[in-house]
C-alpha cells in the first residue's frame, strides 16, 4: 500500500503541501468536491511560487518585453530573438539554487540539463552555456565543498552533452553560505520559421512521452523550491534528482531530428512539476483537454502511485503532441536513438485534465480555472532606504599594494580554475572564451554572424540600493556586449531573493524590477525570458533568518553582423589606451572600500542611462569602424583593475599617465563610476576627435608595451606578480 493513499485530504494536508487555507478554499470551489490526493498534488505544484509566480507576477508585468527583433517574449519555454539571415537565438536563464545546496554536483548538473531542455524544446540547437554563481564566504567551511560540486556538476553535464560553456560570473558573500545560487543560461540557434511552441491543438492527437523512465525523483521538488530551508532540511531531504547527460544528448539529437519533419504539433520539456506542469500547460495553452493513462508511462520503479508519477521530477523527459498520422516517424527516430517512449494519452475536447491509472480516474480537473484562478498576491512591501553617502576619506593608501590585494580578492581573482573545467571550445565556433573578452563570442556556424553573451549582476550594489543595482546589472550586460562590438538585443533575467512575505524583501523585488524596467527601456534592451527564485534564506545556528543579497542576474545577448570585427580585451604591444566616459571617483560600495578599508558602505554608483547609451553606441561604432584593437569595460574594482585585467590577458604591460589633479588617487584608480570603457587603439587622436563630435568624454591615459604596469609615480608592477595574486585565490580556496 502506498502511504500517499492513506492520507486524508483536508485543509491541514493542503497546508503541508504548501497551499494556504484560502488557496485550499479556492481548490474546493473549483472542484466542487474534496479533491483526491493526486488532484491536491497537481494544485499544489501548479500553484506553488515556482510555477505560478504568485508573489512576483503582478510586478513582472511591468517589464518591457517588446522590440522589432523580439519573436517570442516571456511566456514560452525561452525567449526568441531575430538575429538575421533567417535565424533566431533562443535563450533563457534558470535557477537551481536549493537543489545545489542539498547536493551540489547533481543540483548544478540538473540545472544545466533543465535549461538546455527549455531551449531545444523550441527547436533550437544549443550552442552555448553560461553560469552565474554565488557562493558563501570563502572562510565558511562548506563553501569549498559547494564550489567543488557545483563546478564539477556544471562541467560534467555541459561537457558531456557537448555544448560549450563560455561565460558566467561568480561572487562570494556570507549571505549565500547555506543558500548558494546556481543560475544557468543556455543559448540556442533555430531557423526563425521553425520555432516550436507548447500549444497543444487537434482533439484526438496522441500525447507522447520520450526520455528517461519515471522514478520517485524530487517529488515535491517544485514546492520544495519555494519553501525556506530550516535546520532540519538535511533530514527532510527528498529523493535527489540525478542527471543523465548522456540521455539528454540523445534527446537533443532525437528531438532535432524529429523537428525536421512535420510530425510535432506541440512540445514541452518536463521540468519542475514534471508531467503535471507539462501536460497542464500544453493543453491549457491550446484550450483543449488532455487525458493521460499512467499505465503507459515508462517507469523505473515499481508500484508508483498516480500522485508520484504526476509529481515526479525525473530528469531528461519530454512530452509532445504529434500528428496522429506521424507516429511511425517518431517511433523510428526514438528507436534509432534508443530512447524510451510511449503514447500516454491524447487530446480531448473536455477542457479537463483527466488522469487514469489502473483503470481508475485519479484526477479530473478543469484546466481553465487551474490556470486562471491561480493565486497571485500583491504582498505588502516597505520602501527602500538609500544608504547615506560615505564620509570623505583622508587616508592615503599605497596604490600598488592595493592593486595586488584587490586582484587576489574573492570577487576579482581569476576564475580560470572554474572555466578550465568547462569545455569552451567544443563546436569549433568559440571566438572569445572566458577571460578573453567582456562578453563571450561565438560564431553562428555557417554564417558570418556572431553572438555576444554575458551574465552580470553586482549583488552588493543591489543590497545597498536595489533600484540602482538592478539598473546597473542591465547596464553592465549591455556594456559587456557593446565592448566586443556587438549590438545588444535582449536579456533574460533570473531574480533571486529571500522571503517575499517579508515587506523589506518585497520592497527589494519591486525596486529591482523597476530598475530593470528603466534600464531596459533606456537601452532598448527588452526582457524576453526569465525566472524568479524566492525564499532564498536560511535559518542560522542562532535562529536568525539570513536572506541572500538581492541578486537579479542578467543574461544578455547581442549580435555581430560580422563576427570577425569582434574585439577581445588583451593588450598588445605599441598601442595607446583611451578611457571613454567620465571618472568622478565614486567609492561607495566599491571593492576598494570593502577590501582595503574594510567597509561595506555608501550608495552604489549611479547609472546615468543616457550617458551609458551614448558612450556605448560610440564604442560600438568605433569598434565596427576598425579603430579598436581591444576593449574592456570598467566595472568591479575600477580603472586600474580593468587595465590590469587587460595586461594579464595579453601578457603585455603599459605605462599610465597621472590622473587629473584634484582627485584622490584611490578614487581615480579604484572608483567604480559607470558607463566607462578602456579602448586600445593605434590612433587615439582620431578616436578622441570622433568622441568629441558625439559629445563623448575620451582621454588618452597611457601606452602599451613591456611586462609591467608602470604607474605615473614610476612604480612598476609586473604582470607575473599580478597573475600570481590573481591566481592565488582559487588555488588557496580549493587546496586539498
Amino acid at each position: 500500500m502506498n502511504k500517499a493513499q492513506q492520507l486524508v485530504v483536508n485543509e491541514s494536508l493542503a497546508k503541508e503541501f504548501g497551499l494556504s487555507a484560502d488557496e485550499y478554499q479556492k481548490v474546493l470551489s473549483i472542484m466542487r468536491r474534496t479533491p483526491s490526493m493526486t488532484e491536491l498534488g497537481i494544485f499544489s505544484v501548479m500553484w506553488s511560487e515556482h510555477c505560478s509566480y504568485k508573489s512576483s507576477r503582478v510586478w513582472l508585468k511591468n517589464l518591457p518585453t517588446k522590440a522589432p527583433w523580439v519573436i517570442h517574449g516571456p511566456g514560452e519555454n525561452a525567449g526568441v530573438v531575430d538575429i538575421g539571415e533567417g535565424l533566431a537565438a533562443v535563450f533563457k536563464m534558470e535557477s537551481h539554487n536549493h537543489p545545489s545546496f542539498i547536493e551540489p554536483y547533481q543540483g548544478a548538473a540538473t540545472g544545466v540539463g533543465g535549461i538546455l531542455r527549455d531551449v531545444f524544446t523550441m527547436g533550437a540547437r544549443p550552442i552555448a552555456n553560461l553560469n552565474a554563481l554565488r557562493f558563501g564566504s570563502p572562510e565558511n567551511s562548506q563553501t569549498r565543498h559547494i564550489v567543488d560540486g557545483v563546478v564539477r556538476g556544471i562541467g560534467g553535464y555541459g561537457n558531456c552533452v557537448g555544448v560549450p560553456t563560455i561565460g558566467g560570473e561568480v561572487n562570494f558573500h556570507e549571505s549565500y553560505n547555506s543558500n548558494p545560487l546556481v543560475n544557468a543560461m543556455t543559448v540556442g540557434i533555430a531557423r526563425k520559421d521553425r520555432i516550436f511552441l507548447s500549444v497543444a491543438v487537434g482533439v484526438g492527437n496522441p500525447v507522447i512521452y520520450v526520455g528517461s523512465k519515471t522514478g520517485r525523483d524530487g517529488i515535491h521538488g517544485a514546492t520544495m523550491a519555494s519553501a525556506e530551508f530550516d535546520e532540519d532540511a538535511a533530514t527532510k531531504r527528498p529523493t535527489v534528482q540525478v542527471g543523465d547527460p548522456f540521455v539528454e544528448k540523445l534527446l537533443i539529437e532525437a528531438c532535432l531530428e524529429l523537428m525536421a519533419t512535420d510530425a510535432i504539433v506541440a512540445i514541452q520539456d518536463m521540468g519542475a512539476a514534471g508531467l503535471t506542469s507539462s501536460a497542464v500547460e500544453m493543453a491549457g495553452k491550446g484550450g483543449v483537454g488532455i487525458e493521460l493513462n499512467l499505465d503507459h508511462v515508462p517507469q523505473r520503479e515499481t508500484q508508483m502511485s498516480a500522485y508520484e508519477m504526476m509529481l515526479s521530477e525525473s530528469q531528461e523527459r519530454m512530452l509532445m503532441v504529434l500528428r496522429s498520422d506521424r507516429i511511425n516517424i517518431a517511433k523510428q527516430i526514438f528507436e534509432k536513438w534508443e530512447l524510451d517512449f510511449a503514447i500516454i494519452g491524447y487530446l480531448t475536447d473536455t477542457g479537463h485534465i483527466v488522469v487514469k491509472h489502473h483503470g481508475r480516474i485519479e484526477a479530473d480537473i478543469p484546466l481553465a480555472p487551474l490556470a486562471d484562478e491561480a493565486p497571485f498576491y500583491k504582498r505588502s512591501f516597505s520602501p527602500y532606504f538609500k544608504p547615506k553617502p560615505i564620509e570623505p576619506l583622508n587616508i592615503t593608501m599605497d596604490i600598488e599594494r592595493s592593486l595586488i590585494k584587490l586582484l587576489g580578492c574573492a570577487d576579482l581573482a581569476s576564475r580560470s580554475w572554474i572555466w578550465d573545467q568547462y569545455d569552451s571550445t567544443i563546436g569549433g565556433q568559440t571566438v572569445y572564451r572566458p577571460g578573453q573578452s567582456d562578453a563571450a563570442v561565438v560564431k553562428v556556424e555557417g554564417t558570418y554572424l556572431g553572438l555576444a553573451l554575458t551574465t552580470d549582476c553586482t549583488p552588493r550594489y543591489c543590497q545597498a540600493d536595489a533600484y540602482q543595482g538592478a539598473a546597473q546589472a542591465v547596464a553592465e550586460a549591455w556594456r559587456n556586449i557593446t565592448a566586443v562590438g556587438a549590438k545588444p538585443l535582449a536579456i533574460t533575467d533570473n531574480l533571486n531573493f529571500g522571503n517575499p512575505e517579508k515587506p523589506e524583501i518585497m520592497g527589494q523585488i519591486i525596486s529591482v524590477i523597476e530598475g530593470i524596467k528603466d534600464a531596459c527601456n533606456a537601452l532598448n534592451f527588452p526582457v524576453v525570458s526569465g525566472n524568479v527564485s524566492l525564499y532564498n534564506e536560511t535559518c542560522n545556528a542562532q535562529g536568525e533568518n539570513i536572506s541572500i543579497l538581492p541578486t537579479p542576474a542578467i543574461g544578455g545577448l547581442g549580435v555581430l553582423d560580422n563576427v570577425s570585427r569582434a574585439v577581445g580585451n588583451a593588450l598588445k604591444e605599441n598601442f595607446q589606451l583611451v578611457i571613454i566616459g567620465e571618472t568622478k571617483g565614486h567609492i561607495g560600495q566599491s571593492l576598494w572600500l570593502r577590501e582595503i578599508m574594510g567597509q561595506e558602505a555608501g550608495p552604489p554608483p549611479t547609472v546615468d542611462l543616457k550617458t551609458e547609451r551614448k558612450n556605448g553606441n560610440f564604442v560600438r561604432q568605433v569598434i565596427n569602424q576598425g579603430l579598436v584593437a581591444a576593449c574592456h569595460d570598467i566595472s568591479d574594482g575600477g580603472l586600474l583593475i580593468s587595465i590590469a585585467e587587460m595586461a594579464m590577458a595579453g601578457n603585455i604591460g603599459c605605462t599610465l599617465d597621472a590622473p587629473e589633479c584634484g582627485m584622490r588617487p584611490e578614487a581615480y584608480w579604484f572608483g567604480e563610476d559607470q558607463g566607462r570603457y578602456i579602448i586600445m587603439t593605434s590612433d587615439s587622436d582620431e578616436l578622441i576627435q570622433k568622441a568629441k563630435q558625439q559629445d563623448v568624454i575620451a582621454k588618452l591615459i597611457g601606452y602599451t608595451g613591456g611586462d609591467c604596469i608602470v604607474m605615473p609615480s614610476g612604480a612598476m608592477i609586473t604582470i607575473i606578480r599580478m597573475k600570481a595574486a590573481s591566481m592565488s585565490f582559487f588555488e588557496n580556496l580549493m587546496k586539498v
Binding site: R152, G155, G156, N159, C160, V161, G162, D244, P245, F246, V247, K249, L250, K336, W337, E338, W419, D420, Q421, Y422, D423, S424, T425, I426, G427, G428, Q429, T430, V431, R433, K443, E445, V563, S564
Partner: protein, 232 residues
Amino acid sequence: MKIGIVVFPGTNRERDVVIAFERVTGIKPIIIWHRETTLPSLNMIILPGGFSYGDYLRCGAMAAHSPIMNEIRIFAAKGGYILGICNGFQILTEAKLLPGALLPNASLRFLSRDCYLKIERNDTAFTRGWNKGDVFKTATAHGDGNYFCNNETLKQLEGEGQIVFRYSAANGFVNSKDNQTNPNGSINAIAGIVSANGRICGMMPHPEDMVDPLMGSEDGKPLFQGIMETLA
C-alpha cells in the same frame, strides 16, 4: 578521397571534424552511424571526440564494443588509416587497436585549456604536415587523458618511434613532471601515438578546433593537410 566519421551515441565533436576537414581540404567527410554493419569504401576512418555512452563505465569502453567496431577492425587489419581524437583515442585503446589506456587526469578534473604539442616524427600520414620538432598550439578538453602503459609497452613505443605527439612548453621543452606543460600527467608526456604500422593514430587534444584564426589559432591545419597529401 572518402573519409568516414563514426558517430556513437554521445559522440559530440563530429561536427567539429567535418568543419575542419572541409575548411582545410575542401573535402566533406561522411558520417557513419555506429550501428552500421558494413562500411562504404573509405580512405580513412575518424573516431571523433565526445562522450560515447556518456563515458560511463570507462571512457570509450562501451563504444569499443559497438557493432561497427568489427568492420573497423577489418579495415585496420587491411592497413587502413584510422585517426582517433580524444574519445576516439580512448575507444581505440579500449578496442586494443592501440596499446595502453587513458586514466583520469592527474588533477582529477576535466581540463579545457590550450596546450602545446611537439612533433616527434613527421613521416606519418598524421604528422607530415609539420617538421620534426615543430611545436603547435591546440586545445585540450578531457577528463581522462592521462596516458598510461606498462614498462614493456612504453619501451616499445619509445623504441619504435610510435610516439608522435608529446605535450611540451611553447618552446618545445618536454617535462613530464610539470603539470603546466603536461596537463594531464601522461607518462613520458605522451599526447598521441601510432600503431606499429604507423596507420592508426590516437591523440587527446583537438587540432580540429584550431583551424581558423577567428578561433584563436590555425595551428591544427597541418594535421588535415598532411592527411590530404597522404591520401591523395
